[in-house]
Amino acid sequence: MSNLYFTILVFVFLTILVALVVRHGRRAQRASTADWDELLGRLECVDREKIAAIARDALGNGQTDAQGALEFDGISIETMLGGLEGLEKLQRNCEVLIDLAAYVQRWYPEAVVDAEQLRLNARELEWHVGRLRGAAETGNLHSAFGDYAQRAVVIYYLMTQHVLELYARTSVSGVAQLQAAL
């Protein structure tokens, strides 16, 4: 390869590396330095009553019929959540929940266990949303929605409970604000 083409290739390679560092570094920087208001401001508005109802239904706290069937079917879950878009909102909120746990971790490094647990839960939720995206592409969204979405909602619901509990236990201020935001 001629030196000119080789130099151009290295230039493109370095540009990609720098772009990756800037893009991902910014995300990491935002997570590690974000203040409380900024974190809460990133939480997208979701209907927490409906989320709690769907989650409790799956966890067995809701009403079930004589055969133990769940109250909500796929269509009603899809309507309650606002379809795939609603689930994607939950996925984005999961990232904020991880950052909220990392916020506590700044003062209590032992909260790393909670942050890691939340991070793994978020990956699990991401996986369910990914399956639904795949189902949407093949035109099977409606048949798959109830199954994957309810699992995703339960994970999200438990994550919110986890973060609220963490804040309440560690006495980091802002629990009431957080409760309102979640």
């Binding site: 590396l17 266990v113 890691e116 991070r119």
Partner: protein, 260 residues
Amino acid sequence: MHLSAFDGFLWGTGVSCQAVLLAVLFFRNRAKEFPIFTALVGWSFSGAIVLYFLHRYAGPWTYYYGYWIAGTVDMLMQVAVVCEVASHVFAPLGRWAPDVRHSFIKLAGGSIVFALVLAMLQSPDRSTFMETVIARGTLFSAVLMSELFVGLVAVSATAGLPWKTHVARITQALGAYSILCVMLDTSTTWMAWPHQAHAMHAVSQVRILAYNIALIYWSVMLWRNAPAPRELPDSMRMQIFQLHRQIEYDLGRIRGWRKI
């Protein structure tokens, strides 16, 4: 071979900076936390002294082989430092997070292949086979290191894993140094020993200067303490542990759940 006053200055500051950094690593107890990084600094320190004496008292070939043996070991140790950094970032609870292990293996494999391809595409203007191998080997090392460090940042940000202060500082400087080395090694592709010996020598001086700046940066950053943490009281720890168990139980039920 003759060393200019500026070469002597670079060598002197380099060895002094390495000695200071080693002192910081041991006196501030960072050596326990970063044993491989400490070994790398120790190796560079002792290597610089041995090479100086080889340069002064041994023949040019002895120095030549000593330089490249030291350089090869240095590169292998830098790869080991990447693994050390990765274990700090990707194993927050003492074992590797299951969702990033696969990504890291893919990153390492892809980085090696790409660095090899880029090194093979280089056509350095060198007169001997050995000089070509050395030029390609140096570029391979710089490309591999820069890919790995950028990859670590990308994988950790994607997975949402935070960086501890000291780990981040070690990575920043080593990553920036590697990227600069890629630029310098690419610039030497255009140069040939007999005609542009001065230019190549200047490039090597820039490289040493950049490494010395990285050494100073590490010394300052590793001397400073990370933000002081607080400890969770036992009662809180127990309550959080119970909460974990409850959540794991609920999630376990949901994972095994089949809709009727």
